[in-house]
C-alpha cells in the first residue's frame, strides 16, 4: 500500500499537464473541472486508504520511506526524490487533498464562464502537486522544491486576473494591479526562502546530510541543547517560516494576496500553503527542542503577530482582508503553540483552522459571487434570508473560529492557550486570551454587517443563493468544523486526545530534550477554559449589539479615537515603512548602480567599445587601398624582400 505514495503526489501533476497542455483545446469547463478535481480526489482516496492501513498497524511500523528515484548524487551529497509517509505527513496529506478536493469542486461553480478556466485548474493542480511534495518529502531539498513551487503557484494564482486594478499600500499605491500583488507575494517569500537556504547549507555542513532521518537522529544523539549552530539553523529556518506563513516581519504579502480569486485565497492562503511554515517547524521539532532561545523567539513572534493582526482585522472593511488578517492572527496562534513545545497542538490547530478558514473564505466567495464582485461589507447586509445555506455555514465557521464549544476551534485553540500557560508563561496566556476576544469580536462584526440587518446594497444587485456545486462543499466543511475537534478532546474533559497520541511518536525525540515544566493543575485548566469561552461570548455579544442596534457607537468611537482608527485602518503603515526603508532604496540603487552604472556603462560600453574600436581600426586600415597599382607593386616588392631575406638568412 505504501508504495502508492508516489501516486498521491504525481496524480495532480498529471492533472496539471493535461489541463495545461490540452485544456485550451478541449475548452470544456466540465472536462477541465472534472479532471482537475478528479485527480485531487483520487489522491485523497489513496491517502485515506494509506491512513487506514497505518491506523491498523503497530505504532513502530507506521513510518515508511518510499523512494521514487535518485535525484542528486555528487560527492558527499546524495538526495533522493523520496516520500516519508508517517503520522504527521499523512495527516497533512489528508488535509491538503481533502480540503483541496472540496475547493476544486467549489471552483467549478465559482469560475464558471471565466476564459481562463482551464488555466485555473491547471495551476491549482500544480499547486497541490507542489504542496504534496512539501509535506511528504523525506529530505530538506525536496521540501524546498515544494516550498518554492507553492510560492510560484501562489504568484501565478494571485495574478490570475493579471490586469485588474488592486488597492495596495506603500509601493505603487493607487496604480497597482493584481500582478503587483503577485510580485509582492513572491518577492517577500524569497526573503524567507533565503533564510531557508542558508539554514540548509548549515545543516549539510553540520550533519553531512540533508535527509530528515539522518539529520534528526544525528542531532538527537550528538548535539547539546543551546548549541550556537543549531540556534542559527533553527532561526534561519524560522525566517523562512515567517515568509511562507505570514508572521512578523514578512506578513505584508498576505493581505495583498487577496487580489486572487477567492478559491485561491481559501486553498492557498488559508488552509494549506501558509501552514507550510508550521509544518516545517513541527517536522524539525528535534532541532527546535535543542534551541530554547529560538523556541522563545517563535512563541513571542507568534503571539505578537496574533494580537497585531487581530487589531487590524477589527477595522477593515473588505471582507477578504478581514479574513486575511484573521489567518495571520490564527497562524500566530499555531506558532505560539509550537514555540512553547506543544507541537501536536499546533498541528491540531492547523487541521481545524483549515476546515473553518476554508469555509469562511468559500462562504465569502459565495457572497462576493452573489453580490457581483462587491467586497465592501458596509455595502452588504440582509443576506440572511436570501442566502440561507451560505449564512448558516458561515455562521458555523465563525462560531468555530471564535472558539465556542463543542465546535472544533474551541478544542484546538483551548489546547494551545492552556499549553501556553502551563509550559510557557502567564503573559502568553493573557495576550492569547485577549486575542481570542478580539477574534470573536471582529468575526461577528463581519457576520453582522454582511448578513444581518437591512440591505445596504445598491438596487441593481440581486443576490441569490449560489448553485449546489458551491454549497455542497460549504456544507461538508461546516460538518468538519463541527466534528473536527473531537479527535483532540483533552483528558480534562474526558477524552483521550487522540490526535496528540497519534502524533506522539513523531515528537517524542523533541519532547525528551525539552525541559517541560508543567505548572498547571486540573483546576486552572478548567478555569482557563471557562474564561476563554466567556470572552468569546462577550466578543460576539458586543459585536452584535454595536453593529446591529447601536451603530452610532461606531461613529463616536472612530471620531474620538481618530488617530488610532486611522493607524489601524492603514495597517500601522507597515507597507509604507517597508517601501520607504527597503523597496525604494533597492529600486533606486539598482537603477543607478546596476543598470546605469554596470549594465549600460561596463557591459554595453565593452561591447560598443569593441565595435567602435574595430571601426576605428578598419578606418585606419582602409587607407591602404590607395587604388594606384604602383603602390601595390611597392608592397609586393617589400614582401619579396622580406621573404627573400628569410630564405637567405636561414
Amino acid at each position: 500500500m505504501y508504495n502508492l505514495a508516489g501516486y498521491i503526489v504525481y496524480l495532480p501533476l498529471v492533472g496539471f499537464l493535461v489541463n495545461g497542455l490540452l485544456g485550451k483545446k478541449l475548452s470544456s469547463e466540465k472536462l477541465s473541472g472534472a479532471i482537475g478535481s478528479g485527480v485531487v480526489g483520487a489522491s485523497f482516496v489513496i491517502a485515506a486508504m494509506m491512513f487506514i492501513e497505518m491506523a491498523n498497524s503497530r505504532v513502530d511500523e507506521r513510518s515508511h520511506i518510499v523512494t521514487v528515484f535518485n535525484w542528486i548524487s555528487t560527492g558527499s551529497l546524495s538526495v533522493n526524490v523520496a516520500y516519508q509517509v508517517d503520522q504527521l505527513s499523512i495527516l497533512m496529506t489528508l488535509i491538503v487533498t481533502g480540503v483541496g478536493f472540496l475547493i476544486h469542486v467549489y471552483s467549478i461553480g465559482y469560475m464558471r464562464g471565466d476564459p481562463g478556466f482551464w488555466r485555473f485548474f491547471a495551476y491549482l493542480n500544480l499547486f497541490i502537486f507542489m504542496m504534496l511534495n512539501l509535506v511528504l518529502a523525506d529530505n530538506f531539498v525536496l521540501m524546498f522544491l515544494g516550498w518554492e513551487g507553492v510560492g510560484l503557484c501562489s504568484y501565478l494564482l494571485i495574478g490570475f486576473w493579471h490586469d485588474r486594478k488592486f488597492d495596495t499600500g506603500g509601493y505603487k499605491a493607487g496604480t497597482a494591479t493584481t500582478s503587483d500583488a503577485a510580485k509582492k507575494a513572491f518577492i517577500v517569500n524569497r526573503i524567507g526562502d533565503f533564510g531557508f537556504l542558508i539554514a540548509m547549507f548549515l545543516i549539510f555542513k553540520t550533519f553531512g546530510s540533508l535527509g530528515f532521518e539522518d539529520v534528526f537522529s544525528r542531532a538527537a544523539a550528538s548535539i547539546t541543547s543551546g548549541n550556537t549552530t543549531i540556534f542559527w539553523i533553527t532561526l534561519l529556518l524560522f525566517l523562512g517560516a515567517t515568509g511562507k506563513s505570514a508572521q512578523i516581519p514578512l506578513f505584508v504579502w498576505l493581505p495583498d494576496a487577496m487580489a486572487g480569486p477567492t478559491p485561491v485565497s481559501a486553498l492557498i492562503h488559508a488552509a494549506t500553503m501558509v501552514t507550510a511554515g508550521v509544518y516545517m517547524v513541527a517536522r524539525c521539532s528535534v532541532l527546535y527542542a535543542l534551541a530554547p532561545e529560538t523556541m522563545q523567539i517563535v512563541a513571542v513572534i507568534g503571539i505578537c503577530t496574533a494580537v497585531f493582526a487581530a487589531t487590524m482585522a477589527v477595522v477593515q472593511n473588505d471582507i477578504k482582508k478581514i479574513l486575511a488578517y484573521s489567518t495571520i492572527s490564527q497562524l500566530g496562534y499555531m506558532f505560539l503553540g509550537l514555540g512553547v513545545g506543544a507541537f501536536a497542538s499546533g498541528i491540531f490547530h492547523v487541521m481545524t483552522h483549515a476546515f473553518f478558514k476554508a469555509l469562511l473564505f468559500l462562504g465569502a466567495g459565495a457572497v462576493i459571487h452573489a453580490m457581483h464582485d462587491e467586497q465592501d461589507i458596509r455595502k452588504m447586509g440582509g443576506l440572511e434570508a436570501r442566502m440561507p445555506t451560505t449564512y448558516r455555514t458561515f455562521l458555523v465557521a465563525a462560531l468555530a473560529i471564535a472558539g465556542l464549544p463543542p465546535l472544533s476551534g474551541f478544542f484546538s485553540k483551548d489546547e494551545i492557550l492552556w499549553r501556553a500557560f502551563s509550559q510557557g508563561s502567564v503573559i502568553y496566556w493573557l495576550l492569547g486570551w485577549l486575542c481570542a476576544g478580539l477574534t470573536a469580536f471582529y468575526m461577528f462584526r463581519l457576520v453582522t454587517l454582511a448578513f444581518s440587518g437591512e440591505a445596504r446594497w445598491s438596487h441593481d444587485k440581486h443576490p441569490h443563493e449560489v448553485p449546489k456545486v458551491m454549497t455542497i462543499p460549504l456544507v461538508i466543511l461546516a460538518v468538519l468544523s463541527i466534528i473536527g475537534g473531537f479527535v483532540g478532546i483533552p483528558q480534562s474533559l474526558g477524552g483521550d486526545n487522540a490526535i496528540e497520541r497519534w502524533l506522539e511518536p513523531i515528537f517524542e525525540r523533541a519532547t525528551v530534550s525539552l525541559t517541560i515544566v508543567n505548572e498547571g493543575s486540573r483546576a486552572s485548566e478548567y478555569l482557563a477554559m471557562v474564561l476563554a469561552v466567556a470572552i468569546a461570548v462577550g466578543g460576539i455579544y458586543l459585536a452584535r449589539i454595536i453593529y446591529r442596534k447601536r451603530t452610532d457607537i461606531v461613529a463616536r468611537l472612530s471620531a474620538s479615537f481618530g488617530t488610532v482608527y486611522r493607524v489601524l485602518l492603514n495597517k500601522y503603515y507597515v507597507d509604507e515603512a517597508y517601501d520607504a526603508a527597503i523597496v525604494r532604496p533597492v529600486v533606486k540603487g539598482s537603477e543607478r548602480l546596476l543598470w546605469k552604472g554596470f549594465d549600460v556603462g561596463v557591459i554595453d560600453g565593452l561591447v560598443n567599445g569593441l565595435a567602435s574600436s574595430m571601426k576605428r581600426l578598419s578606418g585606419l586600415m582602409r587607407r591602404l587601398q590607395v587604388g594606384v597599382a604602383q603602390t601595390y607593386a611597392l608592397a609586393f616588392v617589400i614582401g619579396i624582400i622580406v621573404i627573400l631575406g628569410i630564405l637567405v638568412l636561414k
Binding site: 590607395v626 587604388g627 597599382a629
Partner: protein, 106 residues
C-alpha cells in the same frame, strides 16, 4: 657550337639575371606610363628565362628549357590581355598614367 673549357662560370650568368631583374623592379615602381610598366615586367620575365636556360644548360637537364617555353607562351598571352585592358582604360579615361587611375580607392 661546342664550348671548350674553361667556360664562363655559372654565377656570372646568374648575376646578370639578378641585375636585369632589379632593373625591371625599378622600372615597375618608378614609371607612370602603364605601357612602360608592362615592358619592365617583360624584362623581369626575361631575366627569369635567362636563369632557367642557364641552369638547364649547365646541369644538362632539358626541363629548364621546357619551362622557358611555357613562360614565353604565358607571357605572350598576358601581354596581349594587358594591352587590351590598357586600350579599354584609355578609351574611358583618356590617359595611361597609372596614378590617375585610382577608382578603386577607398
Amino acid at each position: 657550337m661546342t664550348v671548350a673549357s674553361p667556360g664562363v662560370p655559372l654565377n656570372y650568368y646568374l648575376t646578370l639575371g639578378a641585375i636585369l631583374f632589379s632593373i625591371g623592379v625599378v622600372g615597375v615602381l618608378t614609371r607612370r606610363n602603364a605601357i612602360i610598366v608592362f615592358m619592365s615586367i617583360e624584362l623581369m620575365l626575361n631575366s627569369v628565362n635567362l636563369t632557367l636556360v642557364v641552369f638547364s644548360s649547365y646541369l644538362g637537364n632539358s626541363t629548364g628549357q621546357i619551362l622557358v617555353f611555357f613562360v614565353m607562351a604565358v607571357a605572350a598571352a598576358e601581354a596581349a590581355v594587358g594591352l587590351a585592358i590598357i586600350i579599354a582604360l584609355f578609351r574611358n579615361k583618356q590617359t595611361v598614367n597609372i596614378d590617375e587611375i585610382n577608382i578603386m580607392k577607398w
